[in-house]
């Protein structure tokens, strides 16, 4: 599955999440994850939306998002030009015989143990999307009890900021002929 990562600045006002979520539902756009949180400006929140790129026309999603009155800016962050992270908590079956192997796996992936019971471990992992998927696949062979993921967040690399870039709206220039 190819994905697209959008960074969206929105006004921090009641109903804004409903407007964005409603748009995705109404236009039958598929989201694989959506993460939202405050920014340095108390009036502005930032959403990171990961789209299923196979079924969803990303240009159309951006144009439609940009039309929402409470949406301030929409930018696509491409894989190479952005840092992408996701946090996951995983409760995995950890019988006495498997525990040390699990700790080894955790160490390889830079995950830390945040809770332990006689039969389970809870691991915390912060990773790029691919690495996190690899960790989860490894853990699955031991028996995963439950998983919670924050959804991807992303930030453009380099000195630029989202607020520097031009708005996403088409500027009326001829499209490629």
């Amino acid at each position: 599955m190819t994905t697209h990562t959008l960074s969206v600045l929105v006004e921090n006002k009641p109903g804004v999440l409903a407007h964005v979520a409603g748009l995705f539902s109404r236009r039958a756009f598929n989201i694989s994850s959506l993460a939202v949180g405050p920014t340095a400006d108390a009036g502005v929140s930032r959403m990171t939306i990961v789209l299923d790129g196979d079924s969803t026309p990303v240009g159309q999603v951006m144009s439609q998002l940009d039309k929402l009155v409470r949406v301030l800016k929409v930018v696509e962050l491409t894989r190479g030009s952005a840092v992408e992270r996701e946090l996951a908590l995983v409760k995995v079956r950890a019988e006495a015989g498997h525990r040390s192997q699990l700790l080894e796996v955790a160490q390889v992936f830079g995950a830390s143990v945040v809770d332990m019971s006689p039969t389970t471990l809870v691991l915390e992992a912060v990773s790029s999307p691919g690495k996190l998927d690899a960790l989860l696949a490894m853990l699955d062979s031991y028996g995963t009890c439950e998983i919670v993921r924050t959804g991807r967040i992303a930030l453009g690399r380099g000195a630029g900021a989202i607020t520097d870039e031009a708005p996403a709206a088409a500027d009326g220039e001829p499209a490629a002929a």
Binding site: S63, D66, A169, D171
Partner: protein
Amino acid sequence: MLDGTQLNQKEQPVDVTGAQALVRSLEEQGVEVVFGLPGGTILPTYDPLLSSSLRHILVRHEQGAGHAAEGYYWATGRPGVCMATSGPGATNLVTALADAYMDSVPMVAITGQVGRPLIGTDAFQEADITGITLPITKHNELVTDPERIPDAIAEAFHIATTGRPGPVLIDVPKDVQQATIGWQSAGPINLPGYRIPGPPSRAAIAAAARLLHAARRPVLYVGGGVIKSNAHEELFRLAELAQAPVTTTLMARGAFPDAHPLALGMPGMHGMFPAVAALQEADLIVALGSRFDDRVTGNLQAFAPSAQIVHADIDPAEIGKIRRPDVAILGDLKPIMAGLAEALSAEVTATGAQPDTADWRATLDSWKRQFPLRYSQAADGPLKPQYVVERLSALTGGNAVVVAGVGQHQMHATQHYSFTKPRSWINSGGAGTMGFAVPAAMGAQVGRPGELVVAIDGDGCFQMTAQELATCAIEGLPIKVLIFNNGFLGMIRQWQELFYDERYSHSELGQTIPDYVKLAEAYGCYGLRCDSADQVDETLEKALAATDVPAVVDFRVHDREGVFPMVAAGRPNDEIILGPEFSSDEQAAARRRDMETR
């Protein structure tokens, strides 16, 4: 007690209620009429409304208020305003809001909401109307701070009327209406996330003009945006300069006079053959405020296979949504078309060559002669709806404001009425809302008093909103309603005949119940009936002459008359069916689409 009209913003802030602020804000927006129906949570606002400068039209059902606001917009170009209470009052507006959203109609809906402390408690007549209308409004807002009322209303009108227009809903809790605030007029519009396209790109216009100059088979594919932008004069000039044929979609009928030699009529599923075929054969389609709707393109893969596309629209999300353009021009159509005409003139001057479309026009003229709209009205045979429209068109000289519901009557009306000017055709296009005609005609008549407003309606549609005849009679709005009564949900019947082996599952309404003449009279209207061709003129003349009360005519029309031409849903436009009035040889000739050459 102060009311909205007595406030003076220049003095020290005067204490007003939220309700007074709301009414005053509507006045400051230049609103002249509100269509609505009061209820518990909007009552605080109805009180100052009584002594304001606003005219209020008390509808019989809130859906009527919504469609009336739409009709008012189409007839006048000014945004319509409707008002309802919370819960069912607000949900009754939903169909009209969805309709306005699909057809990009600027409209402001004000709804009462339960008091703030009650929100979320399943209070009496509580409905989450901002949640419900999220996907069918351009924007909506639940106003929780009484001080925000003036700005919220000003923003609502700004959003509704600028860019691609659309409906905006403002939901105001009862206690917000009752709160006391210091009156302050709305400040400057501050919507950082709301962008309207600026002046169109000159480079894009020049590129489009070069394509138009070079095209041999151009078509101007004109949509409702041209009406919204009041750009019919620019369209006329551009078409004549380019010598380019013009097709006007269902939403754009009247943007270009049907009698003009360059007019092809309507494209699409029930479009005129020359218009449908012209798009298929075109080497250049200039889409002006149109959106490649599925009802126009038919099967998309087979649509206009050899055409380059210029797409001019004010909504960036429309450009490339369905068909990728070769040249995109973003912005208001009025300056775009003026710019196109100017750039085309410059191109003519620079090259010393006029656009060469003579062969193309000869071909289209030949198609117009060979494949016109055709139906047969026998002198003593069953009355045909097309004949009634033709007679209406002749008797009114194309000068009526014609309003339609949705279905066969709508298609017959738009096909056979010869439109002469914009804002004389009002209908529900995108949403296809049955029941649109009577209340929309009411709104149009409010906006254009003294003019002839004629609703052409089906018997199925009419019964969905006929109660607004009471409003029309009481408010002195002498609309004419021509019911094309075929006793069926006619378009449904037609599809069942063509695609469901003539199994007429639940599409027959019966022609005699209700008795439309008696119903009209019960509503204080003039009721007439006509079932033969030789009575049509006399009946229409009587109906059109009624200026004191609305007139309703029960035209008993043939129940088996279909709408043709027709492109079946999802089929390629090339498979257009001319209809039973054409021989198989003619149908074969239409498939061949012989081209004229000098």
